[in-house]
Symmetry: C2
Subunit: 193 residues, 2 copies
DNA sequence: CCATTTAGTATCGAGTCGATACATATTGGC
DNA sequence: GCCAATATGTATCGACTCGATACTAAATGG
């Protein structure tokens, strides 16, 4: 259990294997409550997406899947009464997504929450190191693929804090005002500051 | 980019989201070379499994899937000429698996190797912290599920190093001699020392 | 105003995956 | 030795995944 301080054993292979196993567990967890892995990913996404990001297109970018696949997943969720679709008034090609009450009620049954339990058994420094390591890894990988980061306003180059008074922020990309509540959710347009 | 040293922001939610996204990318990578995610997992496993662990049963335990699912995945791989099955002489219920030359030749096309590239862009300390964090997380999660660890002899309580001379080790569980080569592969019976 | 782009749906085929049922082979108690 | 319990693996089903391709319809931009 002692940390190897001097002899870095070039254990990237091991790290890759652990990433693979982690992915496997997440996939397996995705069968909780009679749903499927992709459906859980969509549900989790919609629970966290802001009002500019609750569309099939944004979800497609988040999942890195194709439009067709995501469309099918959303149809299954709609059929199950977990997601509601509505037309976008401004752009009539577009669809707005939101969780129904039933969909939101399902979130506590997300099996990946058990990772939070596992995290709680790690000490704070290790947890923080894991968080930063994952962030760096994801960032490098997403950059290589041209993928979007889907972060918070806090870390976004388009964010203008308190531009119109306390708690009244602004997005310099979309040219709209942002409430504090808006900034607590992830955005498809987010770009690192 | 500055590390938050004093204000630990209880960002476990963020960590969970990153784990989910990582899993998504791995799944997506799993469509390389015309294979499927589960097939890549099996291929990677068989490339790393020792001679006590190259069976459908061990793969089932590794993947955390059901026997039926794994059986189907292996049939697809056999059909594609990437995996060869052979009867186990000692236990005629059992099947031994090995990669064919074609299967082994496919390994360099594994898209998850691109995470190694991403890792190479991180500094050594962060990489080491990520490795240890992932290990701790996986260990906690696997322990909660009763899952096996699938590690190396090096870390196994049944390992008896150099018991019969230099490079001639022994497994105290299976009661068999182990070569250096044996110890370089993962084992279904491994238990943390 | 019309070509291009964008948002999303429809359909196909191979595969996934849990569930259930099944066929054998081994093992343990007696 | 014998037979029940157990272990290893396959067969089949149904809903879903997912990339690929083709499609509809709405917005955009010279």
């Amino acid at each position: 259990m002692v940390s190897t301080q001097y002899c870095l054993p070039m254990n990237d292979d091991e790290t890759l294997a652990m990433i693979g196993r982690l992915a496997r567990i997440v996939t397996h967890d995705g069968h909780a409550a009679g749903l499927k892995p992709a459906q859980w990913e969509a549900l989790r996404y919609l629970a966290r997406a802001n009002r500019f990001s609750n569309t099939p297109g944004a979800l497609t970018a988040y999942l890195g899947a194709t439009k067709g696949t995501v469309s099918q997943t959303l149809m299954a969720l709609e059929r199950a009464g977990l997601v509601r679709k509505s037309a976008d008034a401004a752009d009539r090609r577009s669809v707005r997504l939101e969780l129904t009450a039933a969909g939101a009620a399902l979130l506590p049954q997300d099996e990946t929450l058990r990772f939070a339990e596992a995290l709680s058994r790690m000490d704070a420094a290790q947890r923080e190191a894991l968080n930063e390591g994952l962030a760096a890894l994801l960032k490098a990988r997403l950059a290589a693929d041209g993928g979007r980061t889907f972060g918070l306003c806090r870390d976004c180059r388009h964010f203008r804090r308190d531009m119109e008074g306390a708690g009244r922020h602004r997005c310099a990309l979309l040219h709209v005002p942002l409430s504090d509540e808006d900034t607590a959710r992830i955005c498809v347009e987010q770009e690192a500051a």
